[in-house]
Amino acid sequence: MTYLLEARGLTRKFGGVVALDNLDLAVVPNEIIGLIGPNGSGKTTFFNVVTGIYGAHGGSVTFDGADITRASSPAVYHAGISRTFQRSRLSLPLSIFDNIMIGNHKRLNQGLWFNLIRRGEFKREFEVNYSAARTLVEVFEPQLAERMFEPVGGLPMIHRRRIEICRALINQPKLLLLDEPSAGMTHDETKELMDDILQVRDLNRNLTIIIVEHEMGVIERITERCVVLNFGRKIAEGPYRQVAVDRQVQEAYLGVE
């Protein structure tokens, strides 16, 4: 079995806190994995270590056959991993279009000469990417597609979440890491958001997703498999129905030691 992403013995400490404790986690291409566990169990830290924001104190991560344990954040992105952040990290003064283009970095020509002198060619690239961004936004919220040049800071949280997902999807990553994408949304809004994400995945069959989510209904509906963390350790793994009835998992959520 070849894995798309494979973490082996991954460990990360913050002072005395062991945020990731010898974690093994493997993801098969095209699957949707739920990463669950109580607050502070290390889910966000896992994303941060994989994407090179924090270094690992032990263990390794391979992605698509290459070792990315010590790779920088830009290198991880270029390898094909895109993410969203638990606490939204959009650039608020910039427009919807600009924010989405930030995610499209590797597919944009970054040459000085191209950008400053060859404005005709630049315009063509701009127009192609504008339609791509617009098409993507339309999947999530047609209304937003009419407002591509409005600053993100003026939009409600729900829209910002959608834009952040568009920013991660625009470059057609192989692996998408979603960190509580529906935080702050109502039940219906969450359902809609998940449908939209599934719709994008139908368009791009190569997309693999790891999702951190507190709403268990969502996890049950969209994931094929779950990994449950507690104190940085993996305490259960399997289809949601199976881990949900696991005694250790129930104890972790109830806070029993």
């Binding site: 830009p74 992105y77 283009m101």
Partner: protein, 387 residues
């Protein structure tokens, strides 16, 4: 199709009217000699701008500029030429005007660094000075063609500025700013003790001359005597136009987006592939390059360089222009440079208090209008472009 798009563009008229009125006003202000008249004119401008603001006219103007910038830019160049022609034999006013143009080029450079990349540079005047000293040395000791001297001035400023790259990249926020302040003080001391560079007295700079045309001689068109500063006006205007277009294109490209992204959130930017160091370096070097070119030309215009002309206080004035004009908005910088350079020069009474006044202006702006006189609009990659 293109006709439909034309119709959707904001009208040209408000921009043209605003340009014409500002030109007339500028001529009146520059021509005024009596202090009472100057104070009256300044008060009038404040009232007029406030009134236009409350009547919503300023909005019309800024929308007009946003959508019709290409056309209005050409009109703005014409307007500058009209002002220069009006004062064609007036050394004092033309020198002042050229100073404004070159300071604008320098603040456009600072704007790339601070406005876009978020790298604070409190040594703007030092890099301006490096350009000016390059002119002095090269024109005194060598026969390097003068246009090349300008280029070398820019490159030297960028090169010497790269000494600061390591601390600027490694330290964050205020610490990086402190490093630039230390650099400004060091450079001034270095110039003062260095005898080859004239020590505290400084050195002469030869006037510009291109293909045998000597810039420091008055000349005649028809029977009318022209101030030699008109030569410098033409070159400065060309430099400013080129710089303005460059900065505009930079902002309206993926590179401008990169700089904004890294200023606003380095972590998010690097998670989307941005090489933070590469783009900070690009912004810092490019900014200093532009400041250096402007300084090199300014050295030739003034005919004289000395350490005291490029102090930390002058750097602060450049930063205050940035804050006043609207960080990131080139048009705002043009307006702010006029205000900051021209007003103290005309209003003799406040000359001694100019630093105090600028400090006050900066504090007032930060308190009441942190986005500056002309706030930066959301990026439009092509003015007037509609999907």
């Amino acid at each position: 199709m293109s006709e439909v798009m034309q119709k959707m563009r904001a009208p040209l008229l408000p921009g043209v009217v605003a340009l014409a009125l500002s030109t007339a006003y500028l001529i009146a202000l520059l021509a005024a000699e009596k202090q009472a008249l100057i104070i009256g004119l300044l008060a009038f401008a404040v009232v007029a701008v406030l009134a236009a603001h409350y009547l919503g006219w300023l909005n019309l103007v800024s929308r007009s500029f946003a959508d019709q910038e290409d056309v209005l830019g050409i009109y703005a160049i014409l307007a500058a030429c009209v002002v220069a022609a009006f004062f064609h034999d007036n050394h004092f006013v033309l020198l002042l005007f050229v100073t404004v143009l070159l300071y604008t080029v320098a603040t456009l450079g600072l704007n790339i660094q601070f406005g876009y990349a978020g790298v604070l540079n409190f040594a703007g005047a030092s890099f301006f000075g490096i350009g000016a000293y390059t002119s002095a040395v090269l024109s005194t000791y060598t026969a390097v063609p003068h246009l090349l001297v300008l280029l070398i001035g820019g490159m030297l400023a960028a090169l010497i500025g790269s000494l600061l790259l390591v601390p600027v990249l490694r330290t964050r926020g205020h610490y990086a700013a402190l490093v630039t302040i230390a650099f400004a003080l060091l450079l001034k001391t270095f110039l003062e003790v260095n005898n080859v560079l004239g020590g505290p007295q400084g050195m002469q700079v030869k006037g510009m001359s291109i293909l045998g045309w000597s810039f420091n001689d008055n000349f005649e068109i028809g029977k009318i005597e022209m101030s030699f500063y008109l030569n410098y006006f033409v070159v400065s205007m060309l430099l400013l136009t080129g710089t303005f277009v460059l900065v505009r294109r930079l902002e309206r490209s993926w590179i401008g987006l990169n700089l904004d992204a890294l200023r606003l959130d380095e972590i998010a930017a690097s998670c989307f592939g941005l090489d933070i160091a590469r783009w900070k370096i690009t912004a810092f070097l490019l900014g200093n390059f532009l400041i250096g070119i402007a300084g090199a030309l300014f050295g030739m215009v003034g005919g004289f360089v000395a350490p005291n002309n490029y102090t930390f206080a002058d750097s602060l004035i450049m930063v205050s222009i940035l804050l006043l004009g609207g960080i990131g908005n080139p048009w705002g910088l043009v307006v702010a440079t006029f205000i900051v350079v021209v007003v103290p020069e005309k209003l003799q009474t406040i000359q001694e208090y100019r630093i105090l006044l600028f400090a006050l202006i900066v504090i007032m702006m930060l308190l009441f209008r942190p986005e500056g006189l002309l706030p930066r609009p959301v990026r439009r990659y092509f003015p007037g472009w509609r999907a």
